[in-house]
Amino acid sequence: FHFQENLFLQFLGLDKMPSPEKFQPVPSILKKIVQDREAEAAAGVAQDLCYVKELGVRGNMLRLLADRGFFLYSKKLSQDNFCLQKLLYFNLSAISREEQLTMARLGLDLGPNSYYNLGPDLEVSLSVAREPHVSGRSFPKPGRRMALQSVPRPQGALHFNLLDMAQDWNNNPQKNLGLFLEILVREDRGSGVHFQLEDTCARLRRSLHASLLVVTLNPAQCHLSSRKRR
């Protein structure tokens, strides 16, 4: 059976059998797409597999890319209400030349929160990472700011449109240095809340989860469907 298994893996575009230690969190939108398509197939409803109606974009392949970045620790974290800094990095090399990017959405999950355990409001800043000019230092620096968003708590996942940037990265992989994420707390550091803020930041570092949802369209695989529709 081993031989056939390899063929199946190739069919899926995999080199070898994946062996994840644990499953990555799957966003509800992906689960919904799967469930909807299964229900439509079972009901015999004709489907356009090259249009993702739940996201409103053309595409026949969705990838939730895992963040390969790392946390940064600097002196700045102890001042100016800085909470955390992190380099976000997404490897787009799995996207083949034939595929056209139609959507790239960054998802930032700041972790669970509830009205019973309200944290301070946050400010999320997202910048393009640039290479450090100082030789011998490997830490990236924040470049052009892409987004600055105030985040009242509790808050679910935050989403940012990165299509233009992902297209640029995909065309020029050497430009992909990642994104620079900074999170600040918006409360004043009064004497009574200092410990609580540090606790909030430590909790954020533990629970922060970033992923990039990328939708691509392979015209060769979608040509037939569009002809069928016509």
């Binding site: 059998m17 797409i33 299964e38 197939a41 990838r63 469907s225």
Partner: protein, 114 residues
Amino acid sequence: AASPAASPACRSLCHRHQLFINFRDLGWHKWIIAPRGFMANYCHGECPFSLTTSLNSSSYAFMQALMRAVDPQVPQAVCIPTKLSPISMLYQDNNDNVILRHYEDMVVDECGCG
């Protein structure tokens, strides 16, 4: 598990056989998130000339069967899928990326002679 035919006489005629492959049996449940298995239905059975018109056949299957009656070298019409449906697969790759991919014409819904 093959679906039972209506009667012994019909058992050998072209029809869809249901077959479900559970990914857990293959150990693939460790990286395939959804679905839990694959409906690997297949078509099997005879396509006799007398029944090519009733076995969900294409017009060409009838013509082929007719030609075969004249010239035995013409191959017999064969039992093939006549209606297929797609599947979506959600799995995790070697880089911890979650992939959702759609595959057209993956599940056999109906069979016929062609």
